[in-house]
């Protein structure tokens, strides 16, 4: 199912949780809402689910006005952050819940419900846990139950709110790969909310980066990583080094020195964003950016080097990655050449 979010805004008291959000979600894709806490991603998800309502704007499911539908009528499968499993029901009964509460006329007969539950248990690979209670399961197992329960009602869209947030790192990694595999099998439109960029970049078809109630960028994982659309995105995704610069008449300067970079369309104070591994070390004098080595740390095949660079009104410390072969000495002066970079107005 295709979902269109048009000009949706929402405030809680004086806090602007969502500020004029526009988003088109394609049928069958797995899209992530990625952002720090307070960026509005969970509010947006809950509004799409029908658990909350926007102050203005509208939501369309395949063109149909979704705001006039109840949660029930929207046919969404919602996976809650802390699973929200029914603690008094077994795993099987949890999964069957959505099927058993249907009005008699449309309810499947009990044997069909059981069969469906069994299919789902197999799908999420927890068939042996059918008779357990949620309190007897591990976090990862609960997550699978929550997912199976949401899938049982054959939702038109699957909404996952920080589904792996409460799990430890190893389980989280396994589970998200498994989730991606499952999505490839089922192709149900899925929206996943997360604050974990690795998770978003690894599983999604597209990533929506959100900050302060606004959408900063929408794109494929490579888009948002390689061509961040804003300083916020560059800073939030992957590692970043930011160098304060000034741009006048298309000419960029760091401190007193002229920088030969492309800063089209920018004027005044700006920041030069580079990934640490995109900084090449050069002999002093070869680059406008120079600095003293403050510290060197080794991480497996590379060195992380802290370099103190003079900028307008002081110095700033940036971190560069250097292959293990060429180890800089502390106190040494180095030139730095940004190979790939972005310039954003400050």
């Amino acid at each position: 199912m295709k979902i269109d979010v048009n000009a949706v805004s929402k405030t809680f008291g004086t806090f602007r949780a969502l500020d004029n959000i526009n988003l088109n979600i394609k049928s069958g894709e797995l899209i992530s809402l990625l952002g720090p806490s307070g960026s509005g991603k969970t509010s947006l998800l809950r509004i799409i689910a029908g658990l909350e309502w926007p102050d203005s704007g509208d939501i369309r499911f395949d063109g149909e006005d979704a705001l006039s539908l109840t949660v029930k009528e929207r046919d969404v499968g919602f996976v809650f952050q802390h699973y929200a499993l029914f603690r008094h029901l077994t795993v099987a009964d949890n999964i069957a819940f959505g099927l058993r509460v249907r009005p008699r006329k449309v309810r499947k007969p009990e044997f069909a419900i059981r069969q469906k539950v069994e299919e789902l248990l197999n799908l999420v690979q927890i068939a042996s846990l059918a008779d357990r209670y949620p309190s007897q399961l591990s976090g990862g197992q609960r997550q699978r139950v929550a997912l199976a329960r949401a899938l049982a009602i054959e939702p038109r869209v699957l909404l996952l709110d920080e589904p792996f947030g409460a799990l430890d790192a190893k389980v989280r990694k396994d589970l998200r790969r498994w989730l991606r595999g499952l999505h490839n099998e089922l192709h149900v439109t899925s929206i996943l909310v997360t604050h974990d960029q690795e998770e978003a970049l690894e599983v999604s078809d597209r990533v929506v980066v959100m900050g302060h109630g606004k959408i900063e960028q929408v794109g494929t994982p490579s888009d948002v990583y390689d061509s961040p659309a804003s300083a916020f995105v560059h800073d939030f995704i992957g590692e970043s080094v930011a160098l304060p610069i000034t741009v006048e008449n298309g000419v960029a300067r760091v401190g007193e020195r002229k920088l030969s970079i492309n800063a089209d369309g920018i004027s005044g104070a700006a920041r030069l964003f580079v990934r640490p591994h995109d900084i090449e070390i050069a002999q002093p004098g070869l680059s406008a950016i120079e600095g003293q080595v403050l510290a060197v740390r080794r991480f497996g095949p590379i060195h992380r080097v802290d370099i103190s660079v003079p900028v307008d009104g002081g110095r700033t410390t940036i971190e560069a990655s250097v292959p293990a072969g060429q180890e800089p000495k502390i106190g040494e002066t180095l030139g730095l050449i940004p190979e790939r970079y972005r310039v954003f107005a400050a």
Partner: protein, 283 residues
């Protein structure tokens, strides 16, 4: 309770969980019918009296004496409970001895035992030929049918309030706190008075206020043992009943209003104390 920004009226209410309007409405209505309107009636009735009449009733010597007896003895009983109740809590929480769990359960008996039953049982026990009274009589101590009897009854009904308020706080108290204090060189008595007492004090005061409030309003357990002599062992609630039986509604109402106002003040104090306890314990 639909609080949408102007511009677009949405068809659904704010929360997906249904039933706020009806449950909230029923709650307030039922509360109004059973509790608020009847209590308001009491105040309205008081306004049928002039201020002079009202004051005359309250300053009559019998009422003043009943006030003194009710509040004075309730206070003494609550103080007793604060001291002995604290010892009970300490023993129940910190020490292990045979029958500890049973004694713990026993503390709730005054909550569960109907007050009239407690009243006749205490009266019989402390009468001159009773199990306890027979030992006190030779010493010249009379309990039943004296103000001392009121005290005994009020200690009985007040105990659980202290114990059940202080107990959870003492149980939750972090043992490392005491260990830290000791490691810093504090003697045991210093640990108790500088670390433990301040930590449980808000709860103890709350329990005290609860026991006191309950004691002031108590009727059933007291009237059997008190002897009910006007000006000597006549409590306020009994005076209300007597005035009512004499069809002196105005007098009964005036006394009731004063009691009610005082219990509101106590309720407010208890609320504040509880908030204090909660912030102290960090709940």
């Amino acid at each position: 309770m639909t609080a949408f920004a102007p511009g677009r009226i949405l068809k659904r209410e704010k929360s997906v969980i249904p039933g706020f309007g009806i449950t909230f409405g029923l709650t307030v209505t039922w509360l109004g019918l059973i509790v608020l309107i009847p209590l308001a009636g009491l105040f309205i009735k008081t306004f049928e009296l002039s201020l002079d009449e009202f004051l005359a009733i309250l300053t009559s010597s019998r009422v003043l004496n009943a006030l003194k007896i009710s509040f004075g003895i309730s206070f003494l009983a609550a103080v007793t409970n604060a001291v002995l109740g604290s010892i009970v809590v300490w023993v129940l929480v910190r020490y292990d001895f045979p029958g500890r769990r049973i004694f713990d359960a026993i503390v709730d008996i005054p909550f569960a035992l109907p007050t009239a039953v407690a009243g006749i049982a205490l009266t019989t026990l402390y009468a001159e030929n009773g199990w306890i009274g027979q030992f006190l009589a030779p010493l010249g101590i009379k309990v039943s049918y004296t103000p001392l009897g009121i005290y005994v009854a009020l200690v009985f009904i007040g105990l659980p309030f202290i114990v059940r308020t202080v107990q959870p706080v003492l149980e939750d108290l972090d043992g490392e706190l005491e260990e830290a204090a000791s490691s810093l060189g504090a003697a045991r008595w210093q640990v108790i008075f500088k670390v433990i007492v301040p930590a449980v004090l808000p709860a103890l005061l709350t329990g005290f206020a609860l026991a006191f409030a309950r004691a002031v309003g108590e009727y059933g357990s007291v009237i059997f043992i008190a002897g009910n002599l006007p000006n000597v062992s006549e409590i306020l609630p009994l005076l209300i009943v007597i005035r009512l039986e004499e069809f002196r509604y105005a007098d009964a109402t005036a006394i009731a209003v004063i009691m009610l106002l005082i219990s509101f003040v106590l309720l407010f104090a208890i609320n504040q104390l509880q908030r204090w306890t909660d912030t102290r314990v960090g709940r």
